[in-house]
């Protein structure tokens, strides 16, 4: 194997791990700020989001360079395509961190509603999913990735429950509408974190097993119907 390819793969691995660590930290800060708001949160995360965007572009450029120059096959090819996809997912998670921080800042000025406990639990579960999906990539653990994928339906169910509760609350008392809408958006953002964690996990399965399992459940249930 050429030393140039080895070097390029090692650099890529280092960059994607750095991106993983940064995005995980951002989302933790955003969710923490959501639960314990502070005014400067928005600015801080916006700046970090710009860094993440730059990392995403750099990683994609490096992947394309490796594909063009080295024409990798098998595990190396799957690794390059997986890194490109994971970088894209992480970039969107970073955007979600900014969105959550914006909701948190908006809620600062509204006193009418506390963050529901269910939402706090969902946030904790989503963050855990993201953490495990990144772990599954680092450890190349497809069984861990499969467990993350199974968790997504639990988060979806929690999100539906929260939306129902918020809807009832807003219908009951119009003073809750503004806060309710911010919490509604926040719940959806947090549910999207779990979706991106699921996508990362599916990419890890592809990397390790060589099988694309994306959309499989949906396609299978469509066929059965």
């Amino acid at each position: 194997m050429s030393i140039h390819l080895i070097r390029d793969l090692e650099n890529l691995h280092r960059d994607i791990l750095s991106m993983c660590a940064n995005v995980e930290e951002m989302i933790h800060i955003a969710v923490q700020g959501f639960l314990q708001p502070r005014p400067e949160l928005n600015t801080e995360l916006l700046e970090r989001d710009n860094d993440i965007d730059r990392m995403d572009v750099k990683i994609e450029e490096d992947c394309l360079k490796i594909l063009a120059l080295h024409q990798p096959v098998a595990i190396d090819l799957r690794r390059i395509t997986t890194v490109m996809k994971i970088a894209g997912e992480l970039e969107r998670v970073a955007d979600l961190a900014v969105n959550i921080a914006e909701r948190a800042c908006s809620l600062l000025s509204i006193d009418s509603m506390n963050v529901p406990e269910k939402l706090q639990e969902m946030a904790k579960s989503s963050l855990e999913m993201l953490h495990q999906s990144i772990d599954s990539y680092v450890e190349l653990d497809s069984q861990l990735a499969q467990r993350v994928i199974k968790e997504d339906s639990v988060i979806d169910e929690m999100n539906r429950g929260i939306i129902n509760d918020l809807t009832v609350l807003m219908q009951t008392n119009s003073e809750h509408i503004e806060a309710g809408l911010h919490l509604f958006s926040s719940s959806r953002h947090i549910e999207r974190i779990a979706d991106h964690a699921t996508n990362i996990a599916e990419d890890v399965v592809y990397l390790v097993e060589g099988e694309i399992i994306r959309h499989r459940l949906k396609l299978e249930s469509h066929t059965e119907a």
Binding site: L9, Q71, A74, I75, L77, R78, G210
Partner: protein, 319 residues
């Protein structure tokens, strides 16, 4: 039909071309370089042998796909010897009809030896011996009643180094049909034109068919050799690194030609160029130290090979 191998004017020339001397070192299956595995730290944490595609070492017959494509060449339990040295070990492989199968593997792994068993080119090397069966369209080609010369018109061969005869372009192509008994000028002209069209060479040489073939460029000479093979209406074309001596543009033309020819012919190609194997073939077989390690659909083998050895080779970790 009294016809010799496609790329030689006569048996004597053919023998001198092939040489009765033992095949050069890089063609011999022994001695072998030790596996120089360089396992990356980024290897997946999984069983080393994944789901097993058909593999000649474990099964009596290896078919690279599960579909019902007819088999053109069926190799079963083949062992091959250069004197006391065994070069192929229990190889079983099926080549589907009208497809391109690439044979890959490090130098000395036996892929060229295997290729030559398919039209008995190894017969001209003294001291060689074959065990097992090789069937062409369900006919055992090592049966004593087989006319080897006729076999080689059905299973043509193109070599790494172009081998045009020192004759005109026309006579190069017409040589095989003439030996087979075609004497009509009109018929020969038709065959020559058809073959040159099929080999994508007609437009470049149509106005100079009487010129010497030796005046053609390297890429043109190789296409001439392919046309010469096609002139005898083969069913199978064997190619031993046909583009390795050519520049990128000529290589691309040969690859385009192979892509077109597979619609009509079964092609087996030996190549050291992994990307070429990936580009031109539907099926790929990986040989190592005289054994068939893995065979499968090219797309699958190059994205998700079943065997760790295959993966290590195609990713450049050894070989």
């Amino acid at each position: 039909m009294n016809l010799h191998s496609q790329n030689s004017p006569n048996p004597e020339s053919n023998e001198s071309q092939e040489s009765k001397q033992p095949i050069s070192q890089d063609e011999s299956a022994a001695p072998h370089n030790p596996v120089m595995a360089d396992h990356s730290q980024m290897e997946p944490n999984q069983n080393e042998t994944k789901r097993s595609l058909v593999s000649g070492s474990n099964m009596n017959r290896s078919k690279p796909s599960d579909d019902n494509a007819p088999t053109m060449i069926d190799v079963r339990d083949v062992n091959f010897y250069y004197g006391d040295v065994q070069a192929l070990f229990n190889v079983s492989l099926s080549v589907p009809e009208k497809s391109v199968m690439a044979l890959i593997g490090p130098s000395g792994c036996g892929k060229s030896t295997f290729l030559r068993t398919l039209n008995r080119m190894n017969d001209i090397i003294e001291g060689t011996r074959v065990e097992g069966t090789i069937k062409l369209d369900d006919q055992d080609i090592y049966d004593p009643s087989i006319d080897v010369v006729a076999l080689r018109s059905r299973v043509g061969m193109v070599f790494q180094k172009s081998t045009p005869f020192p004759k005109s372009i026309f006579d190069n192509i017409a040589f095989g049909p003439r030996i087979a008994g075609t004497t009509s000028k009109a018929k020969l002209t038709e065959i020559v034109e058809r073959s040159l069209h099929q080999a994508a060479l007609w437009d470049e040489v149509k106005d100079r068919l009487n010129d010497s073939a030796m005046a053609l460029s390297g890429g043109q000479q190789q296409r001439l050799c392919i046309a010469r093979t096609l002139a005898t209406n083969p069913e199978v074309i064997l190619m031993d690194e046909p583009a390795s001596a050519l520049d990128p543009a000529s290589t691309a033309r040969i690859e385009d030609l192979i892509f077109e020819l597979r619609k009509q012919y079964t092609i087996v190609i030996v190549t050291h160029n992994m990307q070429q194997a990936a580009r031109v073939s539907q099926y790929t077989s990986f040989f190592y130290q005289g054994r068939l390690i893995e065979v499968g659909q090219t797309q699958e083998l190059f994205t998700n090979p079943s065997e760790k050895q295959t993966e290590d080779y195609i990713t450049g970790r050894f070989g």
